[in-house]
Amino acid sequence: MLNTIDQIFIKAKQIILDILSPFLPEWMMILISIFIVIVTLCVFGPVVMMYLTLLERKFIGRMQNRYGPNRCGIFGLLQPLSDGIKMFTKEDIVPQKADPFAHFLGPITVIIPSLLVFSVIPFGRNMIPSDLSIGILFFFAVASTSTLWIFTAAWGSRNKFSLLGGMRAVAQMVSYEIPMLLSIVPALLVVGSFSTVAIVNAQEGLQWFVFTPWGLVGFILFFLTGVAEVNRCPFDLPEGESEIIAGFHTEYSGMKFALFYMAEYMNAFSVSALVTTVYLGGWQGPILPSWLWFFAKTFVLISIMMWFRGTFPRMRVDQLMGFAWRGLLPLAFINLLAAALWVHLSFPLNDILSFCILTVSVLMIYVANRKVAPKKRIYKYAYE
Amino acid sequence: MHIPIDHILVFTSILFLIGLYGALSRRNAVGILISIEIMLNAVNVNFIAFSRSFASSPESGQIFVMFAIVLAAATAAVGLAIVLNIYRNQKTIYTDEIHLLKW
């Protein structure tokens, strides 16, 4: 029973294929099976995005002692629909001086990577769109291109604020990309392969990597850099509303803005999905169907992100950079060291040793980065 | 999927020539660097195309591509730094206006 529920989606696909098989030639059937998967992803992506926006607004609302959107439909459930309609109906303004090609290209190229990434995430047992041997690496490759497209959007709109937003986005994403990659490496070290399915299988039966010392640090690292990659909350300098209006997508309106919005949330979802697959055991769960576990864990992580958004103030640029280069990067390297040790040593010793190394390193990094209180500023002309 | 290798080679040579054309005809220094990147990629494709049919150690071709990419990155970095410096000093990066190397 459980297994059927677990494999419900795969069976559904199979049913559809069986229905169509007598009518269509054999090669067509392959196309159709691929097509089905693509369609489900394309539908699942935006739907998740819409309801995430709703969830976020409700959640932050609750945090700020107010209800979130509850006018459209029961408890505001139709709010995303109304947003969508609003987005479609809004006039799509293209600035006169803007570079039409780049401006038009912006939103398209941003959405593609966030969609592509879904092909690598294992939603459930045997529910992975395409099991690439370089799964994780594919994810990072595609993610890293997003910096370029964001900059294209920023540059295309020929606007100072968008340019500033673009520059900040590029700087941030480039500097957080390295710790992100390094935080994944321990997991790969242990698993020995890039494919996400292998990683999830390696975390069989509550052997989640997060319970290992390096796993915990890796999880935290990956999660923080993930948030930064997605330009969410504490690291949302690129579209820091208060300073530079909407950052790189100020000049966009209507559907293009909707695409950016969707890309952002989809990225958020994919990052948290990836964190769960690598460190929280993906769809590994005792009794519930695999995909249910997967969505629960992802949902927890996304709620944490939203929690960040509700609580953390925006970081200054130098703090942002400093945190990445002086904090996360050294920790990632040491984590890599600890993981290597953990892999080579036998059970009791490796945990203890790596745990000590990591705690000591965290303390050291904290001490090293503690800035001496800034000298009291001397104002030559202004009065105290 | 078997693709005859000479097709790939023809493709890469054309790609290389396009890059070369870009390098020769463009006035903007950055444009030249871009064209050079294209040329380098053409070469990398060649590497990969040949690496498959290289019996003894198939992965060597790919390793060389990796090194090539890294070095391309290095050259791009230095090249652009130089271009920026020229821009800052000469206020122009049009190669026909830069003739410091003239005797």
Binding site: L148, T152 | M1, G22, E37, A55, I69, A74, T75, L80
Partner: protein, 166 residues
């Protein structure tokens, strides 16, 4: 030849054609930023080629390094020298037609040579996955690996020193 292979080969040739077009555009387009973008497309196209040639790791590397890192560099360069980019100024030499002559000749000779030589088309061996690459990198090519890292380090430091404004 199964449908799948047919699809793959057509996709391969389509990719090649796409790359050529993107490269041609990148080289000829007047606006430098557009040429940078087209360069990105060619790079991604080439990554796809690598996928077709069963070199996924290299493809991922290509995208990660080229599009992620080098493109950023180039785009920044384009941005910093943006004043140069205005379309009014001719972006290429007047007598660029002359360049066609040597290039054409070289191309003709190269291609004729390529087509003439009998390439022994041996079947591809086992796909090369990341693991074999890692082993080779760490065993046989460890010295070049270290040297390349050094070169990269030196180059980057050099670039920083050069580009640093006094």
């Amino acid at each position: 030849m199964t449908l799948f292979q047919f699809l793959a080969t057509t996709a391969f040739y389509a990719a090649m054609l796409g790359i050529l077009i993107a490269a041609a555009l990148c080289v000829t387009v007047r606006n430098l930023f557009h040429s940078a973008v087209f360069l990105a497309f060619t790079l991604i196209g080439i990554a796809m080629l690598y996928f077709f040639l069963q070199a996924e790791f290299i493809a991922a590397m290509q995208i990660l390094l080229y599009v992620g890192a080098i493109m950023t560099l180039i785009v920044f360069a384009v941005m910093l020298t943006s004043r140069m980019g205005n379309p009014a100024v001719p972006q290429s030499f007047k007598n660029k037609k002359i360049v066609f002559l040597p290039l054409g000749l070289v191309g003709f000779i190269l291609i004729s040579a390529i087509l003439k030589t009998p390439w022994e088309t041996s079947e591809p061996q086992t796909a090369v996955n990341a693991v074999t690459l890692g082993k080779a990198l760490m065993n046989q090519y460890v010295f070049p690996f270290e040297v390349v890292s050094l070169v990269l380090l030196v180059a980057l430091i050099g670039a920083i020193v050069i580009a640093r404004s006094e």
